[in-house]
């Protein structure tokens, strides 16, 4: 048994969460530093995983396997493929920034001392989420994955419901009511999804006799495990539903704007950039890996839903009055792209979708965190309350613009690479879908630039005249994210090298080949 590196990547933040929670309330600054250090340590471990992973090697590497519940064949089984490695890296990369951005979000309220805000709890919960998300990217046991998939709802619920955004247009009671509404909505949606998935997980066990992803996939591939068509489809739908709620796919998306609107900006980033990625990741790994035939069967419907998500999310983003809700709807649109890329079932589409998960995480984090800095200064989430910020806080406006440009997939920034790959990959198999999805880039420009215009440009509003520019801590959050965006925008090779082999495996899972160019002898001409 080799060194349990993967376990360690999750165990470190988990242990860090417990330690952070144990720090006495009076020493809250120590708790913050502890959490930050733990997240950095996790980042180092993730970097080690990234380096140790050999793109050309086995499909699942750094595997660990221990018996867990013997009676049901449940195992504690870990292993990463390229997709998992990329997403672990994303998660580990974002958490330190989330912590740093939320440095003061959970400080005790000066005005209302009656409300108890456990500062250290906020950071402990974030670390807990990190641990669970990382472990869920590593789990190759369906049951283990399911447990983590559901368990991460608990800390998220408390993060949304317990530490809401203090910038609220309504009264305090109103804010609290909306916050708890958002948290409960988040929980209920995901629980319903999880419940259906649980049924499917049990169904899978009944059919397959164990929970091991690798064993089931292998048995399916070599024909020893036959599934009736309808059984496979039902199981697929059970899994897919849960992931589509989490991802979220239209029309299961309405929890996301509420949750992202009411949560603080770092938590909103945690939701959309990290936790939701588990949904899309799981579509790739479990839906396609376990039920290739059913995936192909469901593809047309899913592509239609993804297209609706893209256009619908973008149109709704245009119509929003609340900055954070706008970003949330933009994310819905982007998740539509990711799902489209996954189910286009072409190499480009799936590589693009995987890159998209990473890039969307980083770009949304950049945009949302800067938006959060802005909101915390003015104390309002309404776009109409801003104007002319560019004049008083040029650096803030500049970083906000870069985050926005990344969101609208400007070439040179990371999301462009992935979005274009998704579009090309989709077009290759479904030209009409590809063209419809392309309208998303126009709408993206619309909502980003309208947002920027209304908040940052124009005459300086009286209320924002005294707005300070970004502070050192905030710059330390934004600048590295932007640097990563630009780096991956012009040189995504480190990421694609890791992802490509994994995508090849997935493609062979679903036994799909890329459509060949209609003009075959181009290579010769080249």
């Amino acid at each position: 048994m080799s060194f349990p590196l993967l376990t360690l990547t999750a165990a470190v933040p988990a242990a860090g969460a417990i330690l952070t929670a144990a720090v006495p309330a009076a020493r809250r600054t120590a708790a913050k530093w502890l959490a930050l250090l733990v997240s950095l340590a996790t980042l180092v471990l993730a970097a080690v995983v990234f380096v140790r992973f050999e793109p050309g090697g086995e499909r699942y590497q750094l595997t660990e396997s221990h018996a867990w519940i013997k009676d049901f064949g449940v195992r504690y089984e870990l292993g990463v493929d390229g997709i998992g490695v990329a997403l672990i890296a994303l998660t580990a990369l974002l958490i330190p920034f989330v912590i740093l951005a939320g440095w003061h979000d959970a400080d005790p309220l000066e005005t209302k001392s009656s409300r108890w805000r456990p500062t250290q709890g906020f950071f402990a919960l974030i670390l807990m989420v990190e641990a669970m998300v990382i472990l869920s990217f590593e789990a190759t046991d369906v049951f283990l994955f399911y447990v983590l998939f559901e368990a991460m709802l608990i800390p998220m619920y408390f993060l949304i419901g317990g530490f809401g955004d203090r910038a609220h247009s309504g009264s305090d009671e109103n804010a609290a009511a909306q916050r708890s509404y958002a948290a409960v909505k988040f929980l209920l949606y995901n629980l319903v999804g999880g419940l259906i998935m649980l049924a499917a997980v049990i169904g899978l066990y009944v059919v397959a006799g164990n929970f091991s992803l690798t064993e089931i996939a292998e048995a399916r591939a070599n024909g020893t495990l036959e599934m009736a068509t309808n059984t496979e489809r039902l199981l697929f739908l059970g899994f897919f539903f849960a992931f589509a709620v989490k991802a979220p796919l239209w029309p299961l998306h309405t929890w996301l704007p509420n949750a992202m609107g009411e949560a603080t900006a770092p938590v909103a980033v945690l939701i959309t950039a990290v936790v939701d990625k588990v949904g899309t990741f799981a579509m790739l790994r479990f839906c396609l890996g376990l039920f290739p035939e059913a995936s192909k069967w469901a593809t047309p419907a899913i592509i239609v839903l993804a297209l609706i998500s893209i256009v619908y999310g973008a149109l709704l983003a245009v119509g929003q009055r609340d900055i954070k809700r706008l970003v949330a709807y933009a994310s819905i649109s982007h998740f539509g792209f990711i799902i489209l890329g996954i189910f286009a079932m072409t190499t480009q589409g799936q590589s693009g979708a995987t890159l998209y998960m990473v890039n969307h995480g980083i770009s949304t984090a950049a945009l949302m965190l800067v938006a959060g800095f802005l909101i915390s200064r003015r104390g309002s989430r309404l776009i109409a309350d801003y104007g002319g910020v560019q004049k008083v806080a040029p650096v803030l406006a500049g970083t906000f613009l870069i985050g926005g440009l990344a969101t609208l997939s400007l070439p040179g920034l990371a999301p462009f690479v992935s979005e274009f790959l998704v579009l090309v990959g989709t077009y290759a198999r479904y030209p009409v879908a590809g063209i419809i999805a392309t309208t998303g880039i126009v709408l993206a420009a619309l909502y980003v630039l309208v947002l920027y215009q209304r908040t940052m440009t124009g005459p300086v509003k009286e209320e924002v005249r005294e707005l300070p520019d970004l502070r050192v801590r905030e710059l330390a959050v934004v600048v590295p994210l932007i640097a990563v965006l630009i780096f991956l925008g012009v040189f995504p090779k480190p990421l694609t090298d890791v992802v490509n082999p994994a995508v090849q495996h997935t493609m062979s899972d679903v036994q799909q080949k890329d459509p060949q160019p209609t003009v075959p002898n181009v290579e010769a001409a080249q």
Partner: protein, 630 residues
């Protein structure tokens, strides 16, 4: 030598990075750095040009491959450059005019506290534009394409505190994005058809692809070109883009960026050659825009907007020429370059006028400025003569060739296109004369600025006049130089060239061109030279009023896209809230209501609970009995 190509892009890019990230430290020296790096690019361009001239005509293309940008199975996008004669022409134009405008901006933006950032954006633009013309594949071209779009966005909205500027910037970007959509779809079709989107293989194998596919690619490329080059129906952003500082209008929205559409079409010549339907649409778009821009240009009182209409119209010429196929490509590029000179000069002149007139843009409030701004007057006048096609000046050579080529298209199309181009030439002469007369001649119609200060027209500083003089020299000489130095031979290896067979002789066309030019000038003189110009614009005919409103295109856009779009998004927000969310909330409410009713069974009375227990026991017994019975 090839390894220098990357430096062409790299130098201004470095400038942009340093200037934008450098902070206030560079406020004092930033503009010098920016200008220097643009000049470095120009010098490298010249060096490469000299190297290129030293080689044989077939061996002039240079390639430099940096690295693989997006390596995915079956999809290779490289960061690689291709510098051939076509690119070279653009490189020199962009870096040359770009450098001049950098110099001009030193004076023009002297009092702006954000000058450093302005130069950063300019450098960013130059870098992106060079990337656009140097790319060796469509995806990298797309990179530059969007890059110039970004720079244009930033520069149009440079004075962000003005809501009109911010709106114009946003509009420009979004309309351009519609065009970009076309470019990305074109790339997608190329990828699925050819498996690659590198210029070489794609253009070499157009013969293999079906006509329909090529037409589709061509139309999508045209859509992209329409967006970037402000062609109908995506032209509406250009007039508004004049909100930007004047050097920006000169560089981006006259000389270089807006001509990128022409570059794209000429670069994709092989695709269009194989898709006549697409070509026909290209010429139609060019012809329509040519007239559209000209008519709009006649009605505008804002000097920059009049020039913007003119730009649109002139690019219409180029697009039309590009749509003519091999007989037109070279002349499209030739007109592009000459237009780059004289239109940049005209804009800089306009900027110089505004500079002296308290930033007034309404020509009705100018008049008689020739005595106060002699240098501006002369350079502007030379640009004016060039654009109306005064014999011997640059516009004459390039426009005449296009008109000739339009006739040479042959058939009814040829006659129609020829007539349109001639009509365009007449209108061009008309509106440019109008601009000239209203600005520099006639009596003074000056007005005090809002603070009550009377304008003190004065000549601009050296840093502004020198670029204007240099551009005026270009406007005068470029045409003749190209004509006699063999521009056609220079570009032929890249774009191909065919002599058209015009139904009219070259001399007839030239005579006709000069004649319509004289008619246009004469008409304008009768209207604006002989009579005093009213300070308040007369109501004018229906056409005039429509032309002032950009031929109602904006109103149409507003009614359909803005208002309609707002309604759509509003109703979707409503739908999302009531319907999509409503289904879920409704389910929740139903469950809640049911629970509320069921809760009433829990009334606290032990006897009620006893009844349910008793009933439950009865049911159990019944079930047991039934099971036994079965």
């Amino acid at each position: 030598m090839e390894n220098l190509i990357a430096l062409l892009v790299g130098a201004p890019l470095l400038g942009a990075a340093v200037l934008l990230c450098g902070g206030r430290r560079l406020d004092k020296s930033g503009h010098w750095l920016g200008t220097l790096l643009a000049a470095v690019s120009f010098v490298i361009g010249l060096a490469l040009f000299a190297d290129m001239l030293g080689r044989s005509a077939d061996d002039r293309a240079m390639y430099q491959r940096l690295y693989t940008w997006i390596p995915v199975e079956g999809f290779q996008a490289d960061i690689a450059f291709q510098l051939d004669q076509l690119s070279m022409t653009f490189v020199l134009l962009i870096s040359g005019v770009g450098t001049l405008i950098h110099v001009y901006s030193i004076g023009y933006m002297e009092h702006d506290e954000r000058r450093r950032r302005f130069f950063g954006y300019l450098n960013l633009f130059v870098a992106a534009m060079l990337l656009l013309v140097l790319a060796d594949n469509y995806l990298l071209l797309y990179f530059g394409w969007e890059g110039v779009g970004l720079a244009s966005y930033l520069l149009i909205g440079f004075w962000q505190h003005k809501p009109s500027a911010a709106t114009a910037a946003k509009k420009a970007f979004i309309v351009n994005r519609v065009g970009d959509m076309g470019l990305s779809i074109a790339i997608m079709i190329m990828f699925t058809t050819f498996g690659t989107f590198t210029f070489g293989p794609v253009l070499a194998s157009t013969g293999e692809a079906s006509q329909g596919t090529l037409t589709a690619i061509g139309l999508m490329l045209l859509l992209a070109a329409c967006g970037k080059s402000a062609q109908v129906p995506l032209q509406s952003w250009l007039g508004d883009a004049m909100e930007g500082p004047t050097p920006v209008s000169a560089l981006i929205h006259a000389a270089t960026m807006v001509t990128a559409g022409v570059y794209l079409i000429v670069r994709s010549a092989d695709i269009f050659n194989a898709a006549p339907d697409a070509q026909l649409v290209v010429t139609i778009v060019g012809a329509v825009t040519l007239l559209f821009g000209a008519i709009v240009g006649c009605a505008k009182d804002d000097i920059k907007k009049a020039l913007a209409g003119s730009t649109m119209s002139q690019i219409g010429y180029m697009i039309l020429a590009a749509g003519l196929g091999p007989i037109g490509y070279v002349f499209a590029i030739m007109h592009l370059v000459t237009h780059g000179f004289f239109k940049a000069g005209l804009f800089l002149g306009a900027g110089s006028v505004m500079h002296g007139m308290n930033d007034e843009v309404d020509m009705r409030k100018y008049g008689g400025l020739r005595k106060y701004m002699p240098v501006t007057f002369v350079t502007f006048g030379l640009g004016y003569l060039a654009i109306i096609g005064f014999p011997g000046l640059s516009g004459f050579f390039s426009k005449d060739k296009i008109i000739e080529a339009a006739f040479a298209k042959g058939g009814t199309e040829g006659w129609i296109l020829g007539a349109v181009t001639l009509l365009g030439a007449a209108i061009t002469a008309y509106y440019m004369t109008r601009v000239m007369l209203m600005t520099f001649f006639g009596e003074k119609r000056w007005e005090n600025d809002p603070d009550g200060n009377p304008p003190h027209p004065h000549e601009s500083p050296k840093s502004m006049t020198i670029p204007m003089i240099l551009l005026a020299v270009g406007s005068v000489a470029a045409g003749a130089y190209f004509e006699f130095a063999g521009f056609v031979e220079w570009l032929e290896p890249v774009t191909g060239f065919a002599h058209g067979h015009s139904p009219l002789s070259a001399a007839t066309v030239t005579a006709a061109t000069v004649a319509v030019m004289v008619i246009g000038v004469g008409l304008a003189y009768l209207q604006y030279g002989r009579r005093p110009v009213p300070v308040v614009a007369p109501r004018g005919s229906l056409l005039t009023r429509a032309a002032r409103r950009d031929l109602l295109q904006d109103d149409f856009n507003h009614a359909v896209f803005v208002t309609g779009g707002t309604h759509v998004t509003r109703s979707l927000v409503y739908v999302d809230h009531t319907l999509v969310d409503g289904v879920v909330n409704g389910t929740a409410a139903a469950v809640g209501g049911l629970s509320g009713r069921l809760r009433k069974l829990q009334n606290g009375y032990a006897r009620t609970y006893a009844v349910s227990m008793f009933g439950g026991t009865a049911v159990l017994i019944a079930a047991t009995l039934l099971m036994r019975a079965v």
